[in-house]
């Protein structure tokens, strides 16, 4: 009788973080920082970024060496790749958070002043303290321009997206390709285009309206692409049911396709708005610049938030730069709010969540 030793094979762990990895990472990181500190003390090196770069390279080397103690070649490669990929993600996401936080925190110098939101810059010179002058003109200017742009792009963009989905064929494929090309249209070229047509040819003056046209050129392809994606996932059976019951193409689109995709389309519109509101270069060429409040989009220059930032920070005066950062913080808040709105409207009640609700609504109407 021999007792067989059954060696239990260990399951390879593919997810989660092992204690050993954590310790290895910590050890490698500590020794990398220590070694870099030593290098800095013996070699003429300076700068935070230099330190971080050298420490990171050493960290990867140490990490590979420690892993190599008890792992084979493939294992070492796997661990090192995982560390590099994770750190790339960490760097990018912390850069994002840092850019937002940096802008908002430097903006706090100007934000506590109430007049920053209630006055324009017509009476405040570059040397005036932050307690006079504000950005009311650019906040309202941005809102007016984006409203006009939305009035143009929502109908045009949504109908085009419906077209791409409802009339498939060679032509709509070509249109889709052109939409993709248009997304990459350099924003300054959009500005030049409106300048060449609306201002030079049609004689529109540099105004909020011309700026809104330039913003529309930038927003349109974003809106079409985003709503195209949403409309594509509306179930075909729904449309077929509607057509089968004798509804025409128009009623199907209006009563079935669009309501089903409502939340997704809202998200698409808001995302395009967030992009449009931050465009500087098309506005730079088309809106003109003014320091005073102008609520008439058809006459006289009208300033928007990004353009105001751009003009503020051109000045060497610290108060103007502080105003620039304050304006940037306001703009970032606007973009963030739009984004959260988009997520709230688009996440929970997604396309298929809405579906059930819409079917219920439709049946209720029929019964009543």
């Amino acid at each position: 009788m021999t007792t067989q030793n059954i060696v239990e094979e260990q399951k390879r762990q593919l997810h989660g973080i092992r204690i050993r990895d954590l310790l290895t990472t910590l050890t490698a990181a500590t020794s990398a920082v220590a070694a870099t500190g030593f290098l800095f003390s013996i070699a003429p090196l300076n700068g935070v970024l230099t330190f971080v770069l050298i420490a990171y390279v050493l960290f990867i080397v140490f990490f590979a060496l420690i892993t190599a103690i008890d792992d084979d070649r493939e294992g070492v490669k796997d661990r090192v790749a995982s560390v590099i990929i994770r750190s790339a993600a960490v760097i990018i996401f912390s850069a994002l958070v840092f850019i937002v936080v940096f802008t908002i925190s430097r903006g706090f110098e100007a934000l506590p002043y109430l007049n920053f939101f209630t006055q324009d810059m017509s009476l405040a010179g570059p040397l005036d303290p932050l307690s006079s002058g504000g950005i009311l003109h650019s906040i309202l200017g941005s809102l007016i321009q984006i409203a006009i742009a939305l009035a143009i792009t929502i109908p045009l963009g949504l109908i085009t997206a419906v077209f791409l989905n409802e009339i498939p064929g060679k032509y709509s494929r070509f249109v889709r390709t052109m939409v993709e090309a248009m997304t990459a249209l350099p924003s300054i070229v959009a500005g030049l285009f409106i300048y060449a047509t609306a201002i030079l040819l049609l004689g529109v003056q540099k105004s909020g309206f011309a700026a809104a046209l330039a913003i529309s050129v930038m927003m349109l392809p974003i809106m079409i692409r985003a709503s195209d994606v949403v409309l594509r996932i509306v179930p075909g059976t729904l449309k077929e049911a509607s057509l089968g019951l004798g509804a025409g193409a128009w009623r199907t689109a209006w009563m079935v396709t669009l309501p089903t995709a409502r939340s997704g389309l809202t998200t698409a519109i808001i995302l395009a708005t967030a992009r449009g509101i931050g465009e500087t270069s098309p506005v730079l060429l088309t809106s003109g610049f003014t320091a005073s409040l102008n609520l008439n989009p058809t006459e006289g220059p009208m300033v928007s938030l990004p353009l105001a930032i751009f003009q503020f920070v051109k000045s060497p005066e610290p108060t103007m730069i502080a105003r620039g950062f304050g304006t940037a913080a306001v703009l970032m808040f606007l973009v963030l709010i739009l984004f959260m709105l988009a997520r709230i409207l688009g996440s929970d009640k997604n396309v298929f969540g809405n579906l059930v609700k819409n079917i219920r609504k439709l049946t209720k109407k029929k019964v009543a």
């Binding site: 997810h15 003429p44 300076n46 700068g47 970024l49 230099t50 770069l53 493939e74 490669k77 796997d78 790749a81 995982s82 990929i85 994770r86 790339a88 993600a89 760097i91 990018i92 996401f93 850019i99 940096f102 802008t103 045009l156 109908i159 085009t160 077209f163 791409l164 009339i167 032509y171 052109m178 993709e180 090309a181 990459a184 249209l185 350099p186 924003s187 300054i188 070229v189 030049l192 285009f193 060449a196 030079l200 040819l201 050129v217 392809p221 079409i224 025409g248 193409a249 500087t280 270069s281 730079l284 990004p306 930032i309 751009f310 920070v313 703009l331 970032m332 973009v335 963030l336 984004f339």
Partner: protein, 342 residues
């Protein structure tokens, strides 16, 4: 459909049967409402074509005056003095390409890492959040990136640029004129407003779009092949390299070119950082750079009729360049195994 009964039928009957089995002609009469609707849809769809066509047409029309007056030397002249008839885009195109290349070198590795992290490594709980954050990053206005680049990044990059030029100055594009490598007290100003800093900022700006295209492609890697690789005992990296990356090769190239197209057109952030020079300036660490779009932003205000025409010509060159890059990108993505997904 050949059954025994059909085979036993006479030839005539067969012919008749074949006749009746032809697909029925479905003649659909669109009613009035739908005809209007289809017309509206088609014309809305055409609006995009019209706009793109008009952009090309009007830029060409406006540019023709300038292009006609200097001819081919428009592509070889470095100076920009439209009113004395001495202007060309050699310097600005070179500057644009240099900044875009730096941006790509910065953006692609980080995007690749971030996209792989989101699609392969991130815990399921935070995946949605990360995707949203990438979208949000794409919506940060370029003027905000410009602010950050000018007021923060510049101070951080300058010492690194100095160190690079002192130790690797023998590589031509890392050398810096006007700075003595052996003098540790060299002024830092020669390292500011360089192509490198502008390139890094633009690189960060295009990272989100590149990341989201790559992630989209990676997430479509066939689950069967992933499982097969893991089942054969591959490590996670082995699986990623042999399944995900080889599947998404076309997507990676396409996303890179898409990012390149964006980088070529970036205006405000570049304008805020660089100090414009009108010579081909390949020393990326040194003060002075230029790009087509920042040239337009810089000069449109003071431009005479000829100057405006020259700027339109520069804009046209940029437009054509981004179009070519973009079409190449989408055709690469569409032809790759991962297909047109973006």
């Amino acid at each position: 459909m050949a059954t025994k009964t059909q085979q036993s039928l006479s030839k005539d009957a067969l012919a008749m049967a074949a006749d009746t089995q032809k697909p029925r002609q479905l003649k659909y009469v669109w009613d009035f409402q739908d005809r209007i609707f289809r017309g509206v849809m088609r014309s809305a769809g055409s609006s995009v074509l019209v706009i793109m066509g008009l952009v090309g047409l009007f830029l060409t029309l406006r540019a023709s005056e300038a292009l006609g007056s200097v001819g081919f030397s428009f592509f070889t002249t470095q100076a920009w003095e439209p009113d004395s008839g001495n202007f060309g885009i050699a310097a600005v195109i070179a500057g644009t390409v240099i900044i875009a290349i730096i941006a790509i070198v910065v953006a692609v590795p980080f995007s690749l890492g971030t996209a792989l992290y989101i699609s392969e490594y991130a815990p399921r709980r935070i995946k949605r959040l990360l995707i949203t954050m990438v979208d949000l990053m794409a919506a940060i206005p370029s003027v905000v990136f410009g602010l950050w680049g000018f007021f923060f990044l510049q101070n951080e990059v300058t010492p690194v640029a100095k160190w690079l030029s002192q130790n690797f100055g023998w590589i031509p594009f890392l050398s810096v004129q006007g700075s003595d490598p052996s003098d540790p007290l060299t002024s830092n100003t020669v390292f500011t407003s360089s192509s490198l800093i502008a390139g890094i900022v633009v690189g960060l700006m295009i990272t989100p779009i590149v990341t989201s295209v790559m992630r989209e492609v990676f997430s479509q890697a066939p689950i069967g092949e992933r499982e097969a690789a893991l089942g054969l005992g591959s490590t996670r990296w082995g699986m990623v390299r042999n399944v995900v990356l080889s599947f998404g090769k076309g997507g990676i190239i396409g996303a890179t070119m898409l990012g390149l197209g964006r980088a070529l057109g970036e205006t405000i952030a570049v304008y805020m950082i660089i100090s414009p020079v009108f010579v081909v300036q390949p020393r990326i660490l040194e003060n002075g750079a230029n790009s087509v779009s920042s040239l337009i932003a810089l000069r449109y205000g003071e431009a005479t009729q000829m100057g405006m025409s020259a700027l339109m010509a520069a804009g046209l060159a940029l437009f054509i360049m981004t179009l070519i890059v973009n079409f190449a990108a989408s055709s690469i993505v569409a032809r790759s195994r991962s297909g047109a997904s973006s």
